[in-house]
């Protein structure tokens, strides 16, 4: 039983109770992914599974056998920050930094969803082929990621800049 984490095949735990989040943090010491509630209510544990953003706290690791997981540690390549990570620094898109890995992974997954035309709760035209990433669209789609320091404005600036440069 194996799961691919940031490109490395990793054994799954024998204890079926282990969440994907605890597998990362407690068992693999990949503590970049954060635990903020363990209730599916804050988004700090967001990771990408086969490119889709999910909450690793509500995911039983065993259910993800054979899947590819990307965590915040996997966003940067060869020690170089991902451009979105740099944009977060440039726009002060965080304060304490604890929700940040979740915001980053969520944003990467979110932009993929936008590109393929997935509507959101604030999309006016459900039948439209493409999505214009307005501020409202971005904020609604990122609303599953809480930031108690209140770095929301900076996060929005950072994601917007990144989205525009990677169009």
């Amino acid at each position: 039983m194996s799961i691919n984490i940031n490109g490395s095949p990793t054994n799954l735990p024998s204890d079926t109770r282990v969440s994907l989040l605890d597998l990362l943090r407690d068992h693999l010491n990949l503590s970049g992914t954060k635990k903020g509630c363990n209730q599916g209510a804050c988004g700090a544990c967001t990771v990408l599974v086969d490119g889709e953003r999910i909450l690793s706290c509500l995911a039983l690791a065993v259910q993800y056998e054979g899947r590819s997981v990307t965590t915040v540690e996997g966003l940067s390549t060869n020690g170089l920050l991902h451009p979105l990570q740099q944009a977060f620094i440039d726009h002060d898109g965080f304060q304490c930094g604890y929700c940040t890995p979740g915001q980053l992974c969520s944003a990467v997954g979110m932009l993929r969803e936008v590109r393929r035309g997935l509507p959101s709760n604030v999309t006016n035209d459900l039948e439209g082929e493409s999505i214009t990433l307005t501020r409202d669209e971005l904020c609604e789609r990122m609303s599953g990621n809480l930031c108690r320091c209140g770095a929301y404005n900076g996060i929005v600036y950072a994601i917007t800049e990144f989205a525009e440069t990677t169009k």
């Binding site: 109770r17 407690d26 915040v72 540690e73 966003l75 620094i89 304060q95 929301y152």
Partner: protein
Amino acid sequence: MSIKETAQAVMKKAVQIAPDALMPGGAPDPLIRQKHGLIGTPVSRLDGPQKVSGTARFAAEFPMEGMLFATLKYSTIPKGKITNLDIAAAAAAPGVVLVMTHHNAPRMKPAPAFMSSAKAAGGDDLPIMQDAEIHWNGQPVAVVLAETQEQADYAKTLIGVTYETEPAVTAFEVAKADSEPGVFQGEPLLLEIGDADASLAAAPHKVDAVYRTPRHSHNPIELHAATVGWDGDHLLVHDASQCVTHTAWSLAEVFGIAEEQVHVTSLFVGGGFGSKTLWQHQTLAAAASKLAERPVRLMLSREGVYRIVGGRTLTEQRMAIGAQGDGRFDALIQTGVVAMGRHNNMPEPFILPARSAYQAGSFRLDVEAAKMDMVANTFMRAPGESVGTFALESAVDELADNLGMDPIELRIRNEPEKDPTTGAPFSSRHIVEAYRAGAEKFGWAARKAKPGTHREGEWLIGMGCATATYPYYRMPGGAARITLTADGRANVKIAAHEMGMGTSTTQTMVTADRLGLAMECVSVDYGDSHFPGVVLAGGSQQTASIGASVAAAYRKLITELLKLAGKDSPLHGLDADEVIGRDGHLCKSDELERRESYVSLMARIGREELTAEASAPPPLEFTHWSMHSHGAMFCEVRVNAITGETRVSRFLGSFDCGRILNPKTAASQFRGGIIMGLGLALMEETQFDERNGRVMNPSLAEYHVPVHIDVPEIDVIWTDIPDPHAPMGAHGVGEIGITGVGAAVANAVYNAMGRRVRDLPITLDKTLPELGLVP
């Protein structure tokens, strides 16, 4: 008045009347004059790369050899005794190494309660798992240690507890009958000037109403956690802390060991807002670790945080203003009751803003504390001011409405020239400028004075404003160590904290400017109780405390350097006050070409490094002067005419907080405070079931904090006028952002729909009735 209180009063008076020159800040910090350094430039966070890459290690992220995982079981009654604890099944469960209860916990002293002495850090001073007594609903009754978190969490569910309940006071109305005068920082929360009741009665215009604010929870996204280990009788604690030195000292008291035997580190803290002090979990983790003789990681569950970490308490405030027809205040009355735990002392001091916000003919300000059987309430972002400004600034708006005056003009009409209740001169007060600039940028002139007259589709639109205010504090105990090395670099060590404020970045900038070094030549180490200083990250005082400490250490360092440099140095004969740092050199301050580089000076004295450690002067300045930060908050809301939902569509904060050191991180702090204020205004409430004292929404799903789409783009501007009496001319800006927001929103809601909500949060059930029956 006791002898101690009399002595304090005499001392205070002496400080007030002493000559300016004898006070810290009597001579302005030379950095205020320096206009071309790093201060004032936007600098990105130095720890940014660590935070965005997931390599910043938080308290629960330190692996230790042989480490066990802990979990806590909590009481389900508010008061009584444990009569039976059945732990057999839990102890026998797979992976379990220890079940600790009051039967087997090591003997420990209670943690000294916060403010009971200089380094006390405890949320309360109750015994920690020492007996069968239950003091609040949610008190820890057992600790389980196991090889994995899953095993510990499961074993906990096997513990059976039976209780003998005793009568508890868990209803506010019951507690109020027995309320007592609130005492805060050693002084009664009571102030009377003139006969405010008579003045109010005689005033031709008045407002007089009761305002309520509920309990709040800090909810930093990082759960409270500690990773602990013993090496003999030395304790290492990787904590999430905004008070490492306090925690080390307090844990030493608990375990009966020397302060130096406890080492607390806390390099990164995932948000604190007042909550990351010493609660039972650090002590329980250390005690269990001691019994198990293995390191322990204890990360509270989100529910656990609600059960054992106190939040902001509720307030019920009578707010009355009597005024003349021209708007001048004759009487300012703010009195009321707050709920408070029985074993802590934090009577939410909601009257603090009213002490210096406005000139008035008479004052009566009073906070009473009603003791309840509940988890100790505590400090949360702008304790007092955040909720006190809600009542005060709503009432000012109500009065303006009564008088038919613009609420900004009414405020300016009552602008005091000196502190209206102490008579002390203001050190720096430019609130009128802040209002003018804010009103201009926000477009206040477009506000319709008559409520309920601006509608777009389903949305009723309104604007409101309110004053923000927070005191300048500096607590005693600040100290720092500077080391200068032969290569012309400097390192600062101070037991300060980084919870997202940008401390390390900003203080690196300040230190670089002070020494005249490039930023990359300066490093600041913090978050370690073995470093100098008692520097609480609280009360927005850390910036001043570090600033004053580093300035003192700098002065000592330079004095020593100049002394050792001897006669051949071009700086010979000058003392530390006659030189300034510039471009890697020390220079005579009025003759910059007379200078010598640090590298040359160090070579001259033949040292690899030179270290100086010094303490900041006693913090007398804010007694001598009335020192406060100010702001003008502007808000536009949209209230849905169908559903009553309120959404904030625009917000601007215009601040007067001295010189802004790092505009980038300061703007974030302002915004962050405002956003927490939006939560306070619209959605936040810790539900405390008054039947049994249980918190019923211990979850981020049921305790609502603002999410991305609740938050508009927030504009922040500032006067940037240095406070001549504060280190660097700066004030801390962590808390002022939340003040005034509740009122600005409530005033905007009133302007939108004509409904005055005096009971936070402004949820739709409170706006709906005003919309009438189905249209």
